[in-house]
């Protein structure tokens, strides 16, 4: 039987695309290589406990009444009533440049504006003008890459404020070294500073289960543990895919959410245009998780939800020449969301930029790799304690994953969670019935990834069926 639409990749963009399509097309089939859904936002078990990967917080918080907000538009498109989920807003987050300044922000943009007025009075008017510019800017019009750094130099007087504004936005959504496309900046500025952050009340597994059950209830089919070995084309038309076990599936349309180069590798005889010029290397990250013995009733180490820290007044966002760059990082306290029911253990997570090539090299020697992982965990702890105060005595379990781990479990080349630095915003990679959604289409973050899946189905598939 010929499948009307095959979706490769069961991460959040693939799931969202499959749900959107299954609302109107029978027999949509979603293929996921791993035995679990979620892609970068998934989970694993250690010591009998569930650990989340990826998810710190979801950006784009919106109240249910705000119909035009991306979060609510997304839920309408998927036909998932808002009250299906128990979304918990963040308490308060911080941009902390050690020895320089600190800016607090929350889901109330006024707080951030006040903080900027207080810390950067000379730039208050310029910041207000920047906000006004962004409010009138349509980031969804497809334009060539424009440097946000250059843009901010022209708009804001104080370099420290430019660096501080960029730090969270690059960490949560830039595939580029030391910069971000202006359209992406506008999307992220709204998503993080103007809308804010939240998380689902349950864990990521429950969130994924809800999406999967909804998809199945719409009549969609799902195969996990099902890798694609090859995509077979005739000219510019995909005819079928060959699975890892040799089974062949014919399809009318194919949507790939696994990344641009990851998709090209599956195309036997590629007629696609050569890759868009790479704007520097792919960026890798290391993620550390510390689970504490302290009971959930004990006061948390901090009242912040996320802390973006940087040492000094210049923020470097690039592949480090060491395995990990501890000059900056993201600290997440997943317990600090409003109304979150107490968990068994307090948890602290940290993310830093990491070098895929150096970790790849280390992985050839398992003992050295493990030793470097352990020393990275300890080194990150030093940074965490300098922000949160001492807590190492209370650590029950710790775990970390490197760009090599991420590549192994998600198939993302070089473990680069934000994918190829250059994006293909219309999802068109030179085929008549094969399109790209997800990370390399360019909308990042959980809401972004899901909107990417939905918008490519809307623009490239539904109108043509």
């Amino acid at each position: 039987m010929k499948t009307p639409l095959l979706v490769i990749g069961g991460g959040l963009s693939g799931i969202a695309a499959a749900i959107r399509a299954a609302r109107f097309i029978p027999d949509v089939l979603l293929l996921e290589k791993h035995h679990r859904l979620g892609g970068l936002n998934s989970y694993f078990y250690r010591h009998g406990l569930l650990f989340e990967t990826g998810l710190h917080a979801i950006t784009n918080y919106a109240e249910p009444r705000d119909k035009k907000a991306p979060l609510n538009r997304l839920l309408r498109q998927l036909k998932l009533p808002r009250d299906t989920f128990n979304f918990l807003p963040q308490r308060q987050s911080e941009i902390l440049f050690h020895g320089c300044a600190s800016l607090l922000f929350s889901n109330d943009f006024n707080l951030f504006q006040e903080e900027i007025k207080r810390q950067f009075p000379a730039s208050a008017d310029n910041f207000a003008a920047l906000v006004a510019f962004l409010d009138g800017f349509d980031p969804f019009v497809i334009r060539p890459f424009r440097s946000t750094r250059q843009f901010l130099v022209e708009r804001l007087r104080e370099p420290l404020l430019q660096e501080m504004l960029l730090c969270p936005l690059l960490y949560y959504g830039s595939s580029h070294s030391n910069d971000i496309d202006l359209s992406q900046f506008a999307i992220m500025f709204r998503a993080i500073y103007q809308e804010g952050m939240f998380r689902p009340g349950g864990n990521i597994k429950e969130f994924l289960d809800t999406l999967r059950n909804h998809y199945l209830s719409l009549g969609g089919s799902l195969r996990t543990g099902c890798g694609v070995a090859r995509i077979v084309c005739s000219g510019e038309r995909v005819e079928r895919v060959i699975l890892a076990d040799g089974e062949e599936l014919e399809c009318d349309y194919l949507l790939s959410t696994i990344g641009y180069h990851e998709t090209l590798r599956l195309l036997a005889e590629s007629t696609a245009a050569p890759p868009a010029a790479l704007a520097g290397p792919r960026l890798g990250f290391i993620e550390n998780i510390y689970l504490l013995k302290t009971p959930p009733t004990a006061p948390p180490l901090s009242d912040k939800t996320i802390i973006f820290y940087n040492k000094g007044d210049t923020f470097s966002y690039q592949r480090p020449d060491q395995p990990v760059d501890f000059h900056s990082g993201v600290i997440c306290l997943p317990g600090n969301f409003a109304q979150l029911p107490p968990r068994l253990h307090q948890e602290i997570r940290s993310t830093h930029l990491a070098s895929y090539p150096l970790w790849r090299q280390l992985a050839d020697d398992p003992a050295a790799y493990l030793a470097e992982k352990q020393s990275s965990s300890l080194r990150s702890l030093v940074e965490l304690e300098s922000v949160l105060g001492p807590f190492r005595e209370t650590i029950l379990y710790e775990n970390n994953f490197t760009p090599v781990t991420i590549e192994r479990y998600t198939g993302k080349l070089e473990g680069a969670i934000y994918g190829n630095p250059a994006k293909i915003k219309d999802g068109d990679i030179g085929y008549r019935n094969l399109f790209l959604a997800g990370t390399d289409q360019g909308f990042l973050g959980i809401v972004g990834a899901m909107l990417s899946g939905v918008s490519i189905v809307n623009s490239q598939i539904l109108p043509n069926l």
Binding site: R23, K67, R73, R76, Q77, N458, L462, P463
Partner: protein, 83 residues
Amino acid sequence: MTSTEIQELILEIIQDIDDEADFSDLDPDQPLRDQLDLDSMDFLDIVMELRKRHKLQIPEEDYPRLATLNSCVSYLTPLLHDA
């Protein structure tokens, strides 16, 4: 389908997209999108629902003809006269 039935069909589809949609002040000659806070993504749902329910294939270039409630009726009447 009569004009009234087509109107009801469209409103029912919109209600299904947004169960809080308020039709009390709806002007049938003004764009639905502006009055009901629908965006282009929601608008596509109207097209897709018409397809799903009545096997109507509406080409993209005809989407503007679904802009207002009255233009929907005039566009859909010949297409749905047997429905």
